[in-house]
């Protein structure tokens, strides 16, 4: 079990899951604000950049590619 925070909420995931996997496992489908609405995973293999999040203060991390680590702080990105 690992635990990460998303905004100010703590969510749990399974060891080895990507950040996208943890978020989806916790019932979320979207976590980035785009001009036409929220986005989550689209391509799932690091090509489309829809799923970008900020992880531990580093922007532009593809949630589908990054393996989650216990204690990761994930934040929403907004691009109007």
């Amino acid at each position: 079990m690992i635990r990460i925070t998303v905004g100010d909420e703590a969510i749990e995931g399974r060891d080895g899951q990507t950040i996208a996997g943890v978020l989806i496992g916790a019932g979320r489908t979207a976590w980035r604000t785009a001009q036409t609405g929220d986005r989550g995973v689209f391509c799932g293999i690091g090509v489309c950049h829809d799923c970008l999040v900020t992880v531990n203060d580093v922007e532009g991390v593809r949630a589908c590619q990054r393996e989650a680590v216990d204690g990761d702080r994930v934040e929403r990105e907004v691009r109007a």
């Binding site: 399974r14 060891d15 080895g16 899951q17 990507t18 996208a20 996997g21 989806i24 496992g25 489908t29 979207a30 785009a34 001009q35 036409t36 609405g37 929220d38 986005r39 989550g40 995973v41 689209f42 391509c43 799932g44 293999i45 690091g46 090509v47 489309c48 950049h49 829809d50 970008l52 580093v58 532009g60 991390v61 593809r62 589908c64 590619q65 990054r66 393996e67």
Partner: protein
């Protein structure tokens, strides 16, 4: 942070041909095995955290074994790699070939982390085996959360053991929709239906007369069809999702019958409730590394691929290519082409007895790929399911109308004026769709394949290399 400079062939046999292999999917792994067998010093790079590429995407603790095929083959291929230098988590962002020397630049570390380690590889030959990604055609509503590519549904189910929703509609074209439906079911989503755009006529000209060729050696098709039956999943040909419904997320879809040109047939629309949609209308090759190396690419809007000869040699000295970058033929084709490419890159000969098997499989699978394209290839009528305000470029939110209005401008000017294809994905997701819309409107498209940066890399990382070393 330190800069690591890997030079192939410093370990092991001195004087051996140095072969770099870019991509650790079926093609790259088979290339590594064959190059090692031919006596080369091999370096393999892949940006993924694990080897296996798309076909063998996995995680030891999370992947359901029912979703893994040909695993013994993977273990054999991985097993010989203790004699090679292997870098996972290595994103190659620059590649050049000149005077018989190939230079690759990568950053190594957790995906998109700050301060990844620079890695420079120099080799006598390179095998480009960068594979393909999904080609999902735009549909009104496709930016709603809950819509993913078919490949994403597959990757999430296999790698992470999750599904985006609980009731999924699968829509697109090609036999790949079948394993996707199976994976969704196993990972916990009810598949409401699989909608294949091709009609029976197409299928009859494609794989239906020889369905065993889809199967490969593993009996996969039989298993997929069995899974559809077991989970009572309807498979409907000549139909597809033409609109996704919902306000903040997917609430349903509109399904329509499609004619042979993939034009929705008026009066056949019906609504189906679901919370997720998986779209996959084929695959598009990841050409950017091959293009950066100068390799000739050929084809048209139906698909452009790296041109290779019998030896999997490209137009550039020392540059070989294998797998889906040379044509969409599935894992068995990728394995066979990879074996030929690796062996030849290492200085082997085509008439070597060890090449007989791979050459035979390659011939068979290429014929099969041609029939697949005939059966499931994208037909031009699909653009008629778009509305004017459908977002086509997901990164920059550019609509069909905006693109069509500028269709007569040269592609570069059109892109600058509309921003279509200039977003974070560099046109990978929308390129083919934009070209189709421009063509519909009377323009002459093409040219979405060239990309200045081959893989996402941070400015600081590039700057570090440019100044001779990373910032301390």
């Amino acid at each position: 942070m330190t800069a690591a400079t890997g030079t192939v062939g410093t370990t092991g046999t001195t004087g051996a041909t140095r072969v770099a292999i870019l991509g650790g999917g079926p093609a790259g792994l088979a290339a590594a095995q064959a190059a090692l067998a031919a006596g080369a010093a091999v370096t393999l790079l892949d940006e993924g955290g694990r080897l296996g590429g798309q076909y063998w995407r996995h995680h030891e603790g999370l992947t359901d074994r029912r979703l893994q095929h040909g695993w013994a083959r993977f273990e054999r291929l991985r097993g010989v790699l203790d004699r090679a230098e292997v870098h996972t988590g290595a994103s190659v962002w620059s590649a050049e070939a000149s005077d018989g020397v190939v230079r690759l630049r990568a950053v190594v570390g957790a995906a998109d982390a700050a301060g990844r380690v620079a890695l420079d590889i120099e080799a006598d030959a390179v095998v480009v085996a960068t594979g393909a990604h999904d080609l999902a055609l735009p549909v009104p509503g496709w930016t709603l959360p809950g819509v993913t590519t078919a490949g994403a549904a597959q990757a999430l189910a296999k790698r992470d053991g999750v599904t985006v929703g609980r009731r999924t509609v699968v829509s697109g074209a090609g036999p790949f929709l079948l394993p996707v439906a199976q994976s969704l079911s196993v990972a916990g989503s009810e598949v409401v239906g699989v909608h294949e755009a091709s009609r029976l006529g197409g299928l009859a000209a494609g794989w239906l007369p020889r369905p065993w060729q889809l199967v490969g050696k593993a009996g996969e098709l039989v298993e997929y069809v069995g899974a559809l039956a077991r989970h009572r999943i309807p498979y409907r040909i000549g139909s597809g999702v033409v609109r996704v419904l919902g306000t903040d997320r997917v609430e349903g879809v509109v399904i329509a019958a499609l004619d042979a040109d993939w034009r929705p047939i008026p009066g056949t629309e019906r609504e189906v409730a679901c919370d997720s949609v998986a779209l996959g209308h084929g695959f598009t090759p990841r050409l950017e590394v091959a293009i950066a190396l100068g390799a000739v690419i050929e084809g048209d809007r139906r698909g452009r691929f790296v041109v290779v000869d019998e030896s999997q040699r490209t137009s550039v000295d020392g540059v070989f290519a294998a797998g889906e970058v040379t044509g969409i033929g599935g894992a068995d084709a990728a394995l066979a082409e990879g074996a030929v490419a690796g062996f030849m890159a290492a200085g082997g000969a085509l008439d070597d007895g060890r090449m007989r098997g791979p050459l035979a499989v390659r011939r068979r699978m290429r014929a099969f790929a041609a029939r697949l394209e005939r059966a499931h290839g994208i037909q031009p009528g699909w653009t008629s399911w778009l509305s004017d305000d459908t977002v086509v470029c997901r990164c920059e939110n550019v609509t069909r109308r905006t693109i069509a209005v500028r269709a007569d401008a040269p592609l570069r000017a059109m892109k600058l004026a509309t921003r279509a294809g200039l977003g974070a994905c560099q046109g990978r997701t929308c390129g083919r769709a934009v070209e189709a819309i421009v063509a519909d409107a009377g323009g002459a498209p093409e040219g979405f394949d060239r990309r200045p940066v081959l893989a996402p890399v941070r400015l600081g990382e590039v700057a570090a290399v440019a100044t001779g070393g990373p910032e301390q």
